[in-house]
Amino acid sequence: MRLTAWIASVWRTCFRSGAVERDLDDEMRATVDLLADRYVAGGMNPAEARRAALVELGGVEQVKEQVREHRLAAPLETILLDLRYAWRTLWKAPSFAIVVLATLALGIGANTAIFSVVHAMLLSPLPYRDADRLIFVWSDMTDEGYPRAPLSGPELDDLRARSKTCAAFGAIWANTAALTGDDHPEQLRIGRVTDDFFNVLGAEAALGRTFRAEDARPGAAPTILLSWPVFERRYGADPSLVGRRILVNDRPTTVVGVMPRSFRLLLPPDSSVPDDLQAFQPFPAAMTQGPRGQQFLRVVGRMRPAVTVDQARADIDGVASTISRAFTEYGASGRRFVTVGLQSDDVREIRPALVALFAGVGILLLIACVNVASLLIARAAARRSEIALRLALGAARVRIVRQCLIEGLLLASLGAVAGLAAGWCALRAVTVVRPDALSRIELASIDWPVALFTFGIAIAWGVLFSMAPLTEIYAPDLLPELQRTNRQVDTLRDGVRRTLVVIQMALSVVLLVCAGLLVHTLMRVQNVDPGFRADDALTFRVAIPMQRYRPIAGFNTFARNLDEALRRIPGVQGVGAISHLPYDDLPNWGTPYLADAAMDDASAPNADARAVTPGLMETMGLQLQEGRFFTEADQPGQRPSIIVDDKLAARVWPGRSAIGQHLGVDPGSTGRPTVNMTVVGVVKHVRLRSLVADLTEQIYFPERLILRNPMAYVVRSSRDPAALAADVRAAIAALDPNLPIYDVRPLHTYVDGARAARRFTALLAAGFAVVALLLACVGVYGVMAYAVTRRRREFGVRLALGADPSRLAVAILRDGLTLAIAGALIGVLGAAAAGSLLRAQLYGVAPYDPPSFLITVGMLGVTCLLASWIPARRALAASPMEALRTE
């Protein structure tokens, strides 16, 4: 009853206020008439009667005001009045409103965009059932050069059998498979998974089912689980596909199900399992019987309820020491596992960068809000007489405070809306420039939590900066304020604004220096020599179907024919093939190696292993330091030969020539360096996995001897990549029309990809820093322009008395520069602290990198001078007479 009455009152106040007011007017007029009639009847003349009636009523406006105050919606009504007033004041000064809103849109928009990324990547749980119970297990092979290496099949079995804290373990290994049987052969990136992998992960199929134990039994019919994109693109999302058979690697394979459109495999970025695998096939159960040294499984575990990651880690460490004792294969050093929570490990690499960016946009918002506060103070100063008048007429101070608050909140709400729009655009832009490694950014969107965050910070800042003008209004005592000269008051107020500007300057220096450090790091990384020529080369992958090209001689003949066909394409200068391209996301392949057969082979160090065809090293531009490259003569029947990098040569045979030396290696991934091979060449170390840190030695096997399939081909030509790709496809189709090629892209895109994460953070940081500098510049301009306007009269007098205009200009510029210097000094200290926090993100650049600091300070000085120059010129351009007439 009461509530509905209140709502009705609010509704009338908001939407029917015109009618309600007219009705009240009418009632008052009628009442006065009624009262006046009585006085006339008592013998007064109409004019006197009317006056007496008004006296009896107590004044029409007063009664109306009391009626309004007693309405149920009265509190809301005054707020609406204040809002309307605030809106009108904004509307009357559109340039002020635009500057404030643009400033807020920049500050809030940047925060919204970065928060949506932080929310999607750091705060939201992984999209799996009870994701906080998922762990990821690595084997720790730090001594061999791989701190985070995969596990072998028997080790997965050990974990399943011996762990008490985990309910289940599943594993995955990324591979490829060919879809054939129609006119468009296609190579898919598939995940080979244990039959319970999706149960462990807690992900369901959208259509059909995931795998079951019987799919992995020996002799089971082949099965495949498709991703939604493949299902949609290749099969037109036809649900009857589930249960039918398709040709996978030329074998009829039953489609058991399709994963949901939203399904993504979010494993740690260094696990070499791409986010967007196109299909899944089960491992045969016998996979767990493989040798203990054959490590290829990426293992996910599901902890039992109420088990913490620390407990699971202790438990799994226990399993590691048990099997270290039980199996001689591990030698003296034994086996160690690294157990991590899947959620925290997924974002391990990107978290520091995101946190730094988030801090950066926080500073940006601070600068924006300082600007708005400063503008509001300036405006409050201009409105001081209006407010003094209202106070003198008896307006309650609370009323004025409330009005300031409402103005601030109105600005903040408008700013939040503008910020949401700006954030949406910024997020689109971020998604466009995001590196491949950060594909989870696509999950970021402006959803409810993000919108709430945006409005939250807008309202909080709205309250804060609406208080700024109160320093103007809320003078403890009005009288001394009025007795002060204008100049004294101005100096006091100026102090506040100047302090704000200095803070802004300091904050922008911090942002600029950090951005400078990141940009300088990026330049360093751009200049790193990867050890091969990445330009003018097209790459693609091809998996030659073993079933069709049997026996192995047929396979090799086909590979050679393919080589020849590529070489015959016009404009091609070189052709070669390699098992792993630099910076690709294939599972890495390493080999233990031993120079001395007498040593304990369990403690053999690991080297990066790649198989290459003759011609690959020449085509990629590797630098030969000693011996020779591979030739067609390196084939079965000859003495097995390998090429090593200078790093391995220096480590194993220091001071001696490596050529002709023997090395025990493990090309077949048995886990033990059992095959003896002869070194025929030494090449310069190539940065294959990371541009900035690559410490493992490298061993190259001749592909003709150690077969790898699929292979990545590198075709060197200065021709346009698209035209060349068309010729390559035609050449391969002429050899075998059923052979799909995939990952067709220029070699340099892999190198670009390796730099992408750094370019991304540097780009964003630089963007924020420039915006911050612009905002700080607006702040300086505001203060200087205001100060100059106020001193126009003084300048006019001084100019009229014959002062030298250039000296006046210098005085104004010096004033601005003082602010800049104060800001720069504080900022440099802050930047030194921030720089050391950024240390992990830097490469080849010290946290106190002189160029970053010098350029920043220079930029600040120049922009500050510019911002003071414009008002200074305006002041001096005015004629003395005009200047004297102002005020």
């Binding site: 009418d26 009391q66 309405r71």
Partner: protein
């Protein structure tokens, strides 16, 4: 007038207004006249305090206003009590009786 007009106790104005409207609709001036009349001039309600009360009672749905003509031919806004107002009046009467009883008990004690 022997005694000066008394101030209306806080919270009782609503009760008085509802009571004067119980029998027939009246306009604002009419309500003020009636209160003065039946209290023998003890209570003089100024329109300044009467109109806010009338408007709030109308908002709460206890009375309803309607434009009509006075016997003298003037247009005026007449208020009539609604069903909800009747119930409110009954409960306020009861409330008032309790207050009177309680105050009386306190004053008669000792």
């Amino acid at each position: 007038m022997a005694k000066p007009p008394a101030e209306i106790m806080k919270g009782t104005l609503d009760l008085l207004v509802l009571k004067t409207l119980e029998l027939e609709p009246r306009h604002g001036v009419g309500v003020a006249d009636r209160i003065r009349q039946i209290s023998n001039g003890t209570f003089i309600v100024k329109p300044g305090s009467l109109f806010p009360a009338l408007h709030r009672l109308e908002e709460e749905g206890f009375i309803a206003g309607q434009w009509s003509e006075t016997p003298e031919g003037r247009r005026a806004k007449y208020y009539r009590i609604t069903g909800a107002g009747q119930r409110q009046l009954a409960s306020e009467k009861k409330n008032w009786a309790r207050i009177v009883l309680a105050v009386g008990l306190i004053l008669e004690s000792e």
